[in-house]
Every structure is written in structure tokens, then in C-alpha cells.
Amino acid sequence: MTKNRKIYALLAVFAVALAVFPWIGAEKLSVREIAAFAIGDWTADGMIFFQIRLPRVLLGLLAGGALALAGAALQVIFRNPLAEPWTLGIAGGASLGAFLARMCPFLWFALGPLNTSQALALLGAAGALGLVLSLARRSATGAQTLLLAGVTLGVVCGGAIMVISGFISPWKLAEFHRWLLGGLDAADWASVGALAALAVPGATLMALQARNLNPLGLGEEMAAGQGVDVARVRRWTAIGAGVASAGVAAVAGPIGFVGLLAPHAVRKIVGPDARLVLPGSFLFGGALLAACDALGRWAAAPLEVPVGALTAVLGGPLFLWLLARRR
């Protein structure tokens, strides 16, 4: 199978995830009742399938895809194989912004699929990105420094969220506990729309730079010599990754490791060409997050495990295994 064909295999994985995961959950669904709902009768199973499960699976596919795509692009522009929205603190900054908007009723404002949660998430992501970018520019040997700064930033943002939550009534806090760990359980069609409103433009920006990302794999100077406007490619890719990550953080909170794991796995399959790795990461990352979410729904049913916690517990070791296999 050629590398170009392998991308179709990833597309098939994505499609299977979309077709299978809505059937997984605490409630066993009957095909007949879902079909009845589809043609106009109100049935409980149909309601669960179309209004809860389907948007939730779509949310997982889209969020995981956006995170993985952002990870794949960030790894190249920061020239760091461990970069992703979470390890660079972008997810943390965005989550802090989104949390502020949710916690402070006077900040809340919504217009169609857009609301202040996304606006503040964007602001948080921009702040975090600005910080790590200026750090990356300042120190020449910044690979480790960058990750330390990013992870620290994430911890600081997490801490800030905890401090703010100390001032909030416990009832209100319980509502957001899941979101704090990274969760897809509040999914409805509105949140799918809200995520798409940021994830689609962000992903588009990154996809447009895919071709220019390849020469960067051999260093900035080599890339410049081969005709890449390095600063410009960096800027637009970072903006795209920031927008997509902010979109995910605003609806699902901080979800780690998908952005790290999926691109590495995809490179094993299709090779290092960014024009295959970027779409491949979207497909694989989406399926991966949706699978983790389905697992979280199934394993502890009728309770649920937040998907962010699950990706960390499952994704971490798998990533270590990938690293060990590298050489």
C-alpha cells in the first residue's frame, strides 16, 4: 500500500468511529426505535441517539481531530516532537479563559454558535502562544525550556482555575467539575456548532501551510534557502493551532496527549510528509478521542470517566511505547 493510500485507511477508521461509537453507552438502543424517530415518531432511543450520542461522537471526532492537527503542526514550527496544545500551555491558557467566561455570569454573552467562552479562550490561547513563542525566539537551545515553560504555564492556569473555583458555590462547581478534567459529556448540537466555528477555520489555516512545513523539518535556514518564508509560515500555523485549540478548550476543557500521540502514530503510518500527516492526524486524532470517550462511557457505565482523564492515563504510556520504538 502506498503512503497516499494509507490516508484512505485512516479515513475508513474515522468513518467506522462515526458509525459505531453512537451505539456505545449506558443505554442499549434499538435500531427500530431509532429508525422510527428518524421518520418522525418520538422515541426515547431515537432521542438519545440523535440528540445526545451523535453530537457527542461528532464533538469527540472534531475535538480530537483539531487537537491532533494542531499538535502535528506545532511540532514542526517549534521543531519539537513533544509540542502540542497541552504541553505548550495553549490548552491551559484557553481553558482558563473559557472557565472565567463560564464562572462569571456578567461576562457571559452568546451570539449564535459564538459566545464569550470562546472569546476568552482565544484570548487565553493567544496569551500562552505569545509567551512560548517569545521564549522560543529568545533562547537558542530552547527545546527543553519551551516545554518546561509550556507545562508550567498549564499548571499555573490550572491553579488559577482552582483559586477562582474557591470563590464559587459548590453546586455550581460540581457542574463544571467534569469540564475541568476535559469532558465531552455536555455535548449537544449547539456545542458541536460552537466547536466547528473555531476548529474549522483553525484547521484550514494550518492545512494551507502544510506544504511549507516540510522544508522546516530540516531547519529554518535550510527552509529559508529552499524558498520558505519561515516567519510567515510560523505565524499563520501558530494562529491556526491557537484558534483550533481555543475552540476545543471552550467546549471540552483541557484534553491532553491526543495532540501528541496521534501525529506520531500517523507519521509511523504515512511517513513525515506534512501534507499527509496533517489530514491523517485529524482523522486519527478524531477517532482516537471519540474512542476514548466511548470507552469512558462503556467501562464505568452507568457512571462515566471524563475523557481528558482517560486520554492522559491511556495516552501517556502508549506515547512512551512509541518513543521507545523510535530507534
Binding site: L218, M222, G225, R275
Partner: protein, 261 residues
């Protein structure tokens, strides 16, 4: 068939303020001879000069012109179709195959990694054959020796098929025979019309292969001319210090530069 100098540096000034160091180039043109070497002691400004010429660094004063057009006003893609630049090191982020590294050289012409146009494929094949890596084209970079890796990078720059190619120490850290092999490759391409400008550490290789040498000393041009004119004992002693000795190669008049105790 070269009428006008193609790459011209006018009244260039560039400073590293914190180090109190600056480079001044009143007037310098590249692209009139097949193989031009830029030599000089460490810290004399060789790499900086090359980066300025490639447009990777912006001068504080003066301008670099490519075919009469200021580099600063050209897009990188436009520049890269005519002027190649190979840095000292090309640290690979992922484990590319040799063929993919070489294919990246076609970026400015439209093809990257997976080659579509036959012109791209032909250029890559030619470059691979020239550097002698055709048999290793599928081999990942991590499985190459230092010399082979350097030749893979060189092939990437050759595949770009520019009029002028700037190389920063293409023979760095290579054995004597490997270094000479790289210079042979460059000389062969130069004979076919490529104008090569290479920063060289090894004065003997430079003297043997280059048609012209530019000697830098403390950010200024100390000498510019044929190897026999530039590699003289008096010039080199003043640039490198007195622990140096210049002999003549017996069969030709090429100078040999040796260290002295």
C-alpha cells in the same frame, strides 16, 4: 555565458552589537566564476557574509542585489529559484529518507517530498546520481554516516537547480577523501554552469578547487583573487597568525598551507 555579475553586495554593514563585532563589505560580486571560496579564520565573518548574501540576515546598511533586483524586496520563493543556500547543519526533525530530503530542494519549483512533475523527478535523480547516493535513496537519514548525510543535504541544494549556490562549509567534519569528493561534485556542477560560492575551512581544498578566493579578516575583506594570489605566506600570516607555513605543491603551483610549531 555570464555577462553581468549576478549577486552583488553593496556597501554592506552588519554588526553584532553585544559582541562589538561588525562586518563591512564595500563592494563584492559573486557569480562570475565557477567556484569561489570564502576563507578566513574563525570569527572573521564568513558565515555572516554568506547569510547576508543569501538574504537570511538583513544588513544594517547597504543592499544585496540578485540580477539587479534587491533581495530585500523579493519573495523567498522567487529568490530560491535562482539562489540556493545550504547551511552548515540541517538538523532533521523527523527521520526522512534520503530521497525526501533531496526532494525538498524542489520546494521553490512546486514539488515537495512526493514529486509530481517530471522535471522535479529528473532534478532529484540527477542530484542523487551526482552525489553518489542513488543506491541509498530509500535509506533513512538516521542510518547514514556523517559524510553521506552531508552529501544528502548537498543533493537537496543541487536539486534546487539555481544559478548560484551558496554553501556554508560543505566539507566540514569530513575526512580528507570525503572533503575532496564533495569538492569534486561541486566542481563538476560548476563546469556545467552552476556558480558556487562556498565558505571553506580547509585552505588546501579551497586552494585546490576554487577559481577565486575571498579572504576575510575581522569582518573585512583582506584579499580577493586567484588562490595563488590569496594564499601567500604574508597574507595568511597576517590573517591567521604566524603559526602557519605555505609550501608549493610540486607538480603544480598550488599552495599548500600547513600548521607550524
Amino acid at each position: 555565458m555570464n555577462f553581468a555579475p549576478q549577486l552583488v553586495l553593496h556597501d554592506l554593514r552588519f554588526a553584532y552589537e553585544s559582541a562589538g563585532w561588525e562586518l563591512r563589505v564595500p563592494d563584492l560580486s559573486f557569480g562570475n566564476e565557477p567556484l569561489c571560496g570564502v576563507v578566513g579564520p574563525n570569527g572573521s565573518g564568513k558565515s555572516t557574509l554568506l547569510k547576508l548574501a543569501a538574504g537570511l540576515l538583513a544588513p544594517e546598511a547597504g543592499a544585496v542585489e540578485l540580477g539587479g533586483q534587491p533581495l530585500a524586496r523579493m519573495r523567498r520563493l522567487q529568490i530560491a529559484r535562482r539562489l540556493g543556500y545550504l547551511p552548515q547543519e540541517c538538523p532533521a526533525l523527523f527521520d526522512y529518507a534520503v530521497e525526501q530530503v533531496v526532494a525538498m530542494g524542489r520546494h521553490a519549483h512546486g514539488g515537495v517530498l512526493e514529486l509530481s512533475a517530471s522535471a522535479d523527478r529528473a532534478a532529484v535523480d540527477r542530484a542523487l546520481a551526482d552525489v553518489g547516493l542513488a543506491a541509498l535513496r530509500q535509506r533513512p537519514l538516521s542510518q547514514l554516516s556523517g559524510g553521506e548525510r552531508r552529501r544528502a543535504w548537498l543533493a537537496s541544494a543541487l536539486a534546487q537547480e539555481t544559478e548560484i549556490l551558496l554553501l556554508d562549509e560543505p566539507t566540514q567534519a569530513l575526512d580528507v577523501h570525503q572533503g575532496a569528493a564533495v569538492m569534486e561534485i561541486l566542481a563538476r556542477r560548476a563546469a556545467q554552469g552552476l556558480h558556487v560560492v562556498a565558505v571553506m575551512h580547509d585552505l588546501n581544498l579551497a586552494g585546490l578547487f576554487c577559481d577565486r578566493l575571498v579572504l576575510l579578516q575581522a569582518g573585512a575583506i583582506a584579499a580577493d583573487g586567484s588562490p595563488a594570489d590569496v594564499l601567500t605566506a604574508s597574507r595568511l600570516v597576517s590573517a591567521y597568525g604566524d603559526k602557519i607555513e605555505v609550501l608549493q605543491r610540486p607538480e603544480s603551483n598550488n599552495p599548500i598551507v600547513l600548521a607550524k610549531k
